[in-house]
């Protein structure tokens, strides 16, 4: 009973048998690195190609989006800071063509960022704040593209 390494009073407290001790000990041991990976993974997986994809998306550069996807960017890569995808970047700066291109490459329009909002929700709010008519028109074009997109489950 006392050979499992954990203090005996702790095991007595939970009243676990040998199998339970092994199960819970291994779960705990695995949980710590799993939690670390879960928090660090978005930053670790965000590659140089993803950086290029986001940059192209921010500038509505359709050719740049294709190019970065060709060199290995993930179309649904999340930014390590706010967990939003390239789709959000192209959308908030009002580039319907870039949004279309991202969607045709398989971007998921139902992704939610760290603030819990989808790209369409973010753009809808931006339309309400925008004073410049040309910019608002661009945002509305983006919103209609996003509304027409098939959400992936």
């Amino acid at each position: 009973m006392a050979s499992s390494g954990a203090p005996s009073w702790l095991l007595a407290l939970f009243g676990l048998n040998r199998a339970g001790q092994i199960l819970y000990t291994s779960l705990f041991v695995l949980a710590v690195p799993a939690l670390m990976f879960w928090t660090l993974l978005p930053g670790m997986r965000f590659s140089e190609a993803d950086e290029q994809l986001f940059r192209a998306a921010r500038h509505g550069d359709v050719a740049g989006i294709k190019e970065s996807l060709d060199i290995g960017a993930r179309v649904d890569a999340e930014a390590p800071t706010d967990r939003k995808t390239a789709l959000f970047r192209a959308a908030v700066f009002g580039y319907p063509d870039a949004v279309k291109s991202l969607l045709s490459h398989g971007a998921n329009p139902a992704v939610r960022g760290a603030d819990g909002r989808t790209a369409l929700e973010v753009v809808t709010e931006a339309i309400g704040e925008e004073k410049d008519p040309a910019a608002r028109q661009a945002l509305e074009a983006v919103a209609s593209v996003l509304k027409g997109a098939e959400p992936k489950r």
């Binding site: 930053g43 965000f46 993803d50 950086e51 986001f54 940059r55 921010r58 500038h59 930014a79 390590p80 800071t81 706010d82 970047r89 908030v92 700066f93 760290a114 931006a126 925008e130």
Partner: protein, 205 residues
Amino acid sequence: MSTSLWLRGAIVVATMLLASCTRAPYGGEKESLLITATAAHDVAKVQALLDSGANPSAMVKHEDGLYESPWRLVLKQLRPKHPEDVAIVKAMLKAGADPALAWGEGQALSRKSLHQDEPLIVVMMHPNAEVVRLLLDAGLKPQSGVFALVTAVDSGQSEIVHMLVDAGVNINGASGARTPLLAAIEQRDAKLMAYLEEHGARERP
């Protein structure tokens, strides 16, 4: 990355230790007059008092019985409708006010606490490009530069953004969870975003 975090922590601790050793400066008659003149935005009177040797960094009793230095007060009361305050800032810097430290007192939960604010933080509550320029010219090496940079991007103050970046503030630093690039994206400010990108801002800081 981790070393720079340790280094930053060490600097913060060292600054706090040093700060706790610093004797808080308190003023007298002259400083009382100086803070009254500052509150009244009276440039000529402030200049005259500074010339007669009043210390802008020394605290005297001000509103609500709290101690306040004329230097911190003028930084706190900067507003576009009072452009004369910039002249007061200029005069105080010339009279030896510290561009990196402003003394004052605030009400902590139950007891009074001394504030040693960094002037840049106080100024960024109501961003004023001219005053930031004055502070940097007076030799300020901003400790809280990332906070100021994110705030400047948030309020669309491109002039301040340019100054802070030129002064060497880390463009990929994070203030809370936000980086300057993220602030520009949230404000949908394409011009500032392009400027930050040119200077090396990245999605993964």
